[in-house]
């Protein structure tokens, strides 16, 4: 009786907490469909005009194209690199392992301003011109730890005897990896790529400092925040971005669970 009551109080708190987390995001669709030109109550009526305006905006389309190119490239690169790191850390013992994995995971805890400023200083010193290529380089770096985390879970739930069985049946190291291990961790790879794609799509600081004159979606949004006139369009854009993130993450979560089910491990929940 007492336990149930305690659970009830905690549940109510947890639900309130979730509401607090989501409250600001819920404002996005409210004002994206609001006919008023300023983002304020009372609401003025329903419109889809902001979405139409958004679609007709050439600068925004350019930013979207850039963001998609960057996110696509960075997610592939960081997942490849992250898969190597996770494989090395779960399957092999070698000197300096802790330090190596530590450095690879470091962007996760480093303030992004330090990462972007130091990278910028080196790029300028070497004389590389800022473009979407430099953003891809930066995003690959900060997405890599997420890929390592997801792939480490995927590899560590793998039964080592499956790999050994493949060797016993005459497969080489490479073909055993391709035919046995890769298919088993494939859901993890897809999950990692989607996760990295989302991180890159939403990333602002590195894109802001390393893109030169090329806009990405977040830097475009940032440049428009000064103009009250363009806020409703930003609300519409924000609605779509958040929706895209949720869909991508939902698919990532689906694949992560399928991967765990495939290797027969217990689901410990969560991405991190």
């Amino acid at each position: 009786m007492n336990g149930r009551f305690q659970g009830g109080g905690l549940r109510a708190y947890a639900i309130l907490y979730l509401l607090f987390l989501y409250a600001p995001i819920l404002l996005l669709p409210i004002f994206a469909f609001n006919a008023g030109t300023i983002v304020a109550f009372p609401l003025k009526g329903f419109t889809t005009g902001w979405f139409v305006q958004m679609w007709d905006n050439a600068a925004l389309r350019k930013a979207l194209t850039n963001s998609l190119i960057i996110a696509f490239s960075a997610s592939i690169l960081s997942t490849c690199l992250g898969t190597f790191a996770a494989r090395a850390s779960t399957r092999f013992r070698f000197p300096g392992k802790g330090a190596a994995i530590g450095l690879i995971m470091m962007p996760l805890v480093m303030p992004e301003i330090i990462v972007s400023m130091s990278l910028l200083v080196v790029l300028l010193a070497v004389g590389i011109e800022l473009s979407i290529l430099t953003v891809i380089l930066g995003h690959t770096l900060i997405c890599m730890p997420y890929a390592v985390a997801i792939m480490t879970t995927a590899f560590s739930s793998l039964d080592k005897s499956l790999e050994e069985a493949a060797y016993d049946l005459g497969e080489t190291r490479f073909s055993a990896f391709r035919l046995v291990i890769l298919p088993l961790v494939m859901p993890g790879i897809i999950s990692a790529m989607l996760m990295c794609f989302t991180v890159s799509l939403d990333e602002f600081i590195i894109a802001f400092f390393l893109a030169g004159n090329e806009p990405t979606l977040p830097t475009y949004i940032f440049s428009q925040l000064r103009f009250p006139k363009s806020i409703p369009v930003i609300m519409a854009l924000g609605t779509l971005l958040v929706l895209a993130s949720i869909v991508l993450l939902g698919i990532a979560e689906y694949f992560r669970r399928r991967g765990i089910a495939r290797t027969g491990a217990k689901d410990t929940g969560g991405f991190l």
């Binding site: 304020a40 092999f92 330090i114 990278l119 910028l120 080196v122 602002f204 993130s245 929940g269």
Partner: protein
């Protein structure tokens, strides 16, 4: 056996080489460059490669840097306190009340806001707190106030509020992981030995959860101190934190050695603060095994 180990080590090193090389090139070398720059002199449009401690002297003598560093530390401390205190009951709920088959769903729900555009989430707080924002226009249309409240935005309180919201999910996961590891029979033992539910929590659960709480503190504190977007948008650029100052020094003022010295100093301050914090709580880390 030794050769087998050597072969395994060589193979492991070969496989870790690509990501490690990338991290060295894109993170290790840039950080070392910043460190080197902080000891160089600033010439007009160039860097004079001559060893000097002048930058550090200038940083430490600068009252503005000191003010901003203290502000960043106190904002980060307040945000950390708020997020960890608010997050603990949620983590406890996740670990002890939610049935195992629903846990993944709850964690998914909690982490979604974390993955959605940080910039948009921060900007939304400006929309909420602004002069013509959601709160003011809402209260006005309800007839509660005549004039918009101007104290909502552009102050340290609103910065703390926004950052606490933005970093909330960070605190939950490490605490949840620590709570999950607690052997449930220890709690039963506590109850069997006559402790009340509250005392069991205080003397068994909380000490065992402390490693997670410490991790949560660091995982919130470190990125918050380097936050750039919130002081810019919510502080209106008038309440800069250390990230804004480093950026201004590096790009707007274009004194890279001084900016580098600021960045290195800030990183040192954060590292020392984190170490002191861990040292002060080291008994909780020993309890674990």
């Amino acid at each position: 056996m030794a050769t087998a180990d050597g072969k395994e080590a060589a193979q492991g090193l070969r496989i870790v080489a690509p990501p490690l090389t990338y991290a060295v090139l894109m993170l290790g070398i840039p950080l070392l460059t910043i460190l080197a720059y902080s000891f160089f002199k600033d010439g007009y449009l160039t860097i004079v490669r001559e060893f000097t401690l002048e930058n550090y002297r200038a940083v430490w003598a600068d009252p503005i840097f000191r003010t901003i560093m203290i502000r960043s530390l106190s904002v980060a401390a307040m945000v950390t306190l708020a997020t960890v205190l608010l997050a603990f009951p949620v983590a406890y709920f996740l670990s002890f009340v939610v049935t195992p088959d629903r846990k993944a769903l709850w964690i998914f729900l909690i982490t979604i806001p974390f993955w959605t555009s940080y910039l948009i989430r921060v900007f939304l707080w400006k929309v909420i707190l602004g002069y013509n924002g959601v709160i003011n226009s809402g209260l006005k249309s309800l007839g509660v106030i005549e004039q918009p409240l101007s104290f909502l935005l552009y102050n340290t309180g609103s910065i703390v509020m926004t950052l606490s919201h933005a970093y909330a999910p960070f605190a939950i996961l490490p605490i949840y992981v620590a709570l999950e590891k607690i052997d449930r029979s220890l709690l039963e033992a506590g109850r069997d030995l006559g402790e009340s539910r509250l005392m069991t929590f205080w003397r068994v659960t909380l000490p065992l959860a402390m490693p997670g709480v410490l991790a949560a503190v660091l995982i919130v504190f470190i990125p918050v101190i380097g936050d750039y977007v919130t002081p810019t948008l919510i502080g209106g650029g008038k309440i800069p934190m250390v990230a804004n100052m480093i950026q201004a020094q590096m790009l707007d003022i274009d004194n890279k050695p001084l900016g580098s010295a600021m960045a290195v100093t800030a990183m040192l301050v954060v590292a020392i603060a984190s170490l002191l914090f861990l040292l002060a709580n080291r008994r909780f880390l020993r309890v674990r095994q």
